[in-house]
Symmetry: C2
Subunit: 470 residues, 2 copies
């Protein structure tokens, strides 16, 4: 491939450009005006590239607290740990903003092939799964190669069966295959229940080949009675698929002793770097403190809370800035996004200049996107020039946002995405393998440098960032 431009093409077709003329230089479609990068910003990037504050945070959180499921006692311990650590880092106004969350708890769980012959499978219940009867369910399976195929099954066709949906997920740098393949988990159990299924097992929504099942929340539609719902490891799902394709009926025994515990306490941990101009709007950044129960929540999302706090800490050390930076370590991202909702309820009327989060692991930032008010358009070339030095490509617009800040973005607050590479993330996401050793300290530091760059530019931008987004 080379590079061309539509104007050249149009000109040549119209005959206004002669074929013997050399091709014209065309601006790239994502082209932005050149902008100088201040030496102080380059120095900040250099400090970030040698700073291990983020690694120390995620190491501390995963080692001293470990898993911190929503509404659990451990999530409370994580908040205590967070307050102490954020205070020790010199942040101002460190406090917890409590709220209650509907709490689901995993119990004993197992899955076994009963016919054609016994084989144990590695399985994990999905958040919001109903329990099986105490002795478990023993039923034939109805196999679907994809979520698409499940949707094509008629109502009532799954009565007396355990649905088995087994779509594969290929790694994508932008994580988009989680959106498409993840539908089997997000909505598959509800759709299987609508069609009469007694239970559902899915191939894990993951890009690995391992025995570690991937849990995660599932949502039952209003009026649909929850059914037992679980994920098989990718290796087990592929084995089960091969069994199905041998042609004999396959019978599964599934036991899930999962329960809803009702409302339990959760909370957001808030810390600030106070700015000099309160009217300029708060910069809201963060990640989520809660995690799934199977791993220790290193990449999801110990990394995100660590990266954003470490970046704010570096910017604080670089002197006073115009805007207040507010770091929020959200509670309950995983099972309902209630942390982000609680934040929005409490702070919707406060002027915000930006809302951005880090929640896709710890691998390098490869792209940024913006959704800013027209008044703040000159910020974009400054971001592009400075982030370009860290190897970050300029994508045209906000792509993800994220669960924690989505409520604020929905209210019209400006957003910036720093997209991390998701090529490895879904190998370990929501599994027992989400542990500290998955984090590459070098890539983690590149994240901190990218976030510090954004904070330094936005915190002192003379433009109005609180106007309506374009």
């Amino acid at each position: 491939m080379r590079f061309t431009g539509l104007a050249l093409v149009a000109g040549l077709l119209a005959g206004t450009v002669q074929a013997q003329t050399a091709p014209l230089p065309m601006p790239h479609r994502d082209d932005v005006a050149p902008a100088p990068v201040a030496p102080a910003l380059i120095a900040l990037q250099d400090r970030a590239s040698h700073d291990d504050t983020a690694y120390a945070i995620v190491a501390g959180l995963t080692t001293e607290v470990g898993p911190r499921p929503d509404g659990s006692e451990a999530e409370g311990r994580a908040r205590d740990w967070a307050v102490a650590r954020l205070q020790a880092l010199g942040f101002a106004n460190v406090h917890v903003e409590p709220f209650d969350v509907p709490t689901w708890q995993r119990g004993a769980e197992s899955a076994d092939v009963i016919a054609p012959a016994h084989q144990p499978l590695h399985v994990a219940g999905l958040g919001n799964s109903a329990p099986t009867p105490p002795g478990g369910l023993t039923l034939p399976i109805a196999y679907f190669a994809s979520y698409n195929d499940l949707l094509l099954a008629p109502p009532g066709s799954l009565t007396g069966k355990i649905a088995f949906v087994s779509n594969a997920m290929a790694p994508t740098q932008d994580g988009s295959s989680y959106g498409s393949e993840g539908r089997a988990r997000f909505m598959g159990p509800s759709e299987a229940a609508r069609r009469g299924a007694a239970a559902i097992v899915i191939r894990s929504i993951g890009t690995d080949h391992s025995r570690a099942p991937h849990t995660g929340v599932t949502d039952f539609a209003p009026g649909v009675t929850p059914i037992p719902a679980a994920a098989l490891s990718v290796s087990d799902a592929e084995n089960l698929e091969r069994l199905v394709k041998l042609g004999k009926p396959v019978v599964l025994h599934l036991l899930l002793d999962d329960h809803q515990l009702g409302m339990r306490p959760s909370g957001n941990v808030v810390a600030e770097v106070p700015g000099t101009d309160p009217a300029a709007g708060v910069i809201l950044i963060g990640g989520h403190l809660d995690s799934w129960d199977l791993g220790t929540g290193a990449i999801d999302d110990g990394a995100g809370v660590a990266i954003t706090a470490a970046a704010a800490h570096l910017v604080q050390a670089s002197g006073p800035h115009r805007r207040t930076i507010r770091v929020v370590w959200f509670g309950d991202e995983e099972t309902g996004g209630f942390g982000g909702i609680a934040y929005a309820k409490a702070h919707a009327r406060e002027p915000h200049a930006l809302a951005a989060e880090s929640d896709l692991g710890a691998d390098r930032v490869w792209r940024f996107g913006t959704e800013l008010p027209t008044s703040a358009a000159p910020v974009v070339p400054r971001l592009a020039a400075a982030l370009g030095l860290l190897g970050v490509v300029h994508g045209a617009k906000l792509v993800d946002g994220g669960t924690d800040v989505e409520p604020m973005l929905a209210l019209g607050v400006a957003g910036i995405d720093l997209n991390q590479s998701a090529l490895r993330y879904f190998d370990w996401h929501h599994t027992p393998e989400d542990t500290l050793d998955r984090i590459d300290p070098e890539q983690l530091r590149q994240n901190v440098a990218a976030w510090a760059t954004v904070l330094a530019i936005v915190a002192d931008a003379p433009e109005d960032l609180t106007a309506a987004k374009r």
Copy 2:
């Protein structure tokens, strides 16, 4: 990260959803209606996954012809080879559509650090580069860490100097870093010339770390006199950067004996699978037959001509179809896109149902995008369901198009992208390392399966694909 939906957020903020209710299932933003996948289509995918026609084409072309620069005698031999091979595969109406191209030719080239001490560098001239004086140029360099920095240099500031622009390029699955970092090559020489530079060397636009320089075309703006322009290998550019940063003046000797040869013959090779309904519009697919001179043009773009022809060949073997499939192996993609322009000039008035090309190597297709008329909207869920079985994610819209088919897309013809992973492509793109052994046969077959899927669905779609695009 989990998964959420804006409607849930809005409802919770508005108080219409109670916090104790489990979250609602939300359709994914790229969600499409379910669609059955015909058993015949699954069988076609299976045949494609075991078919080595594509590998045989790219092996033959790179072995029997080798490099085939635009306007060269070798490009003519490639056309002869192509006609024979496409006829042997049973295509109809195999012929060449000739046109002339402005032809640039590489001569002797070298770059050496003269001061502070002698060091030879690995270098390759850029297409459209002017020659140096016969003995070469010996001048101090002016270093720019990025193309952005070059643009910030004032007019006249580079007089008597060789500009050295050294931005790095990180790998991206969607190839977007080629668009942003590639500007140093696409437009850097013209911008350096505007500022008075006697010549320019750039860090290769590549994601490797090797001694192989990446060539490629550069475009001088109207009124700008071309200057000598070359790319250093990434390793040599990094070495030169370190020398610059030691603080002593760095002097370079650059010799480029490159020349414009005037207009020379090129041509597009055309082959067809005739359809039963000429009014339904032609399906135009292909890749480009020309290549850069340094490698053998395996990934750029022997793979693309091979993939599209092999897919059309499989679909032809599956029986008669409604629409004619036209496979075009374009000439001159690399130095001006004149092949695509010649095609559009010749065929603009003919009804086309689709224009799509393969020109990003041979690694797996990870995403597809569409730009279709409203009347053809039901084609999208059929594509999504069938391509999903090959691990291809549904991106919302056309992203690339590509140089060869861009003129037809600009005229309003419907487009479909099959985006290949570009994570490795720019390691070897435009270098001596673009050889057959970079092609993974397994991934090449997945490409053929994806293209055959698109062709089979589009060739028989009952919808009107010739209407204006939405």
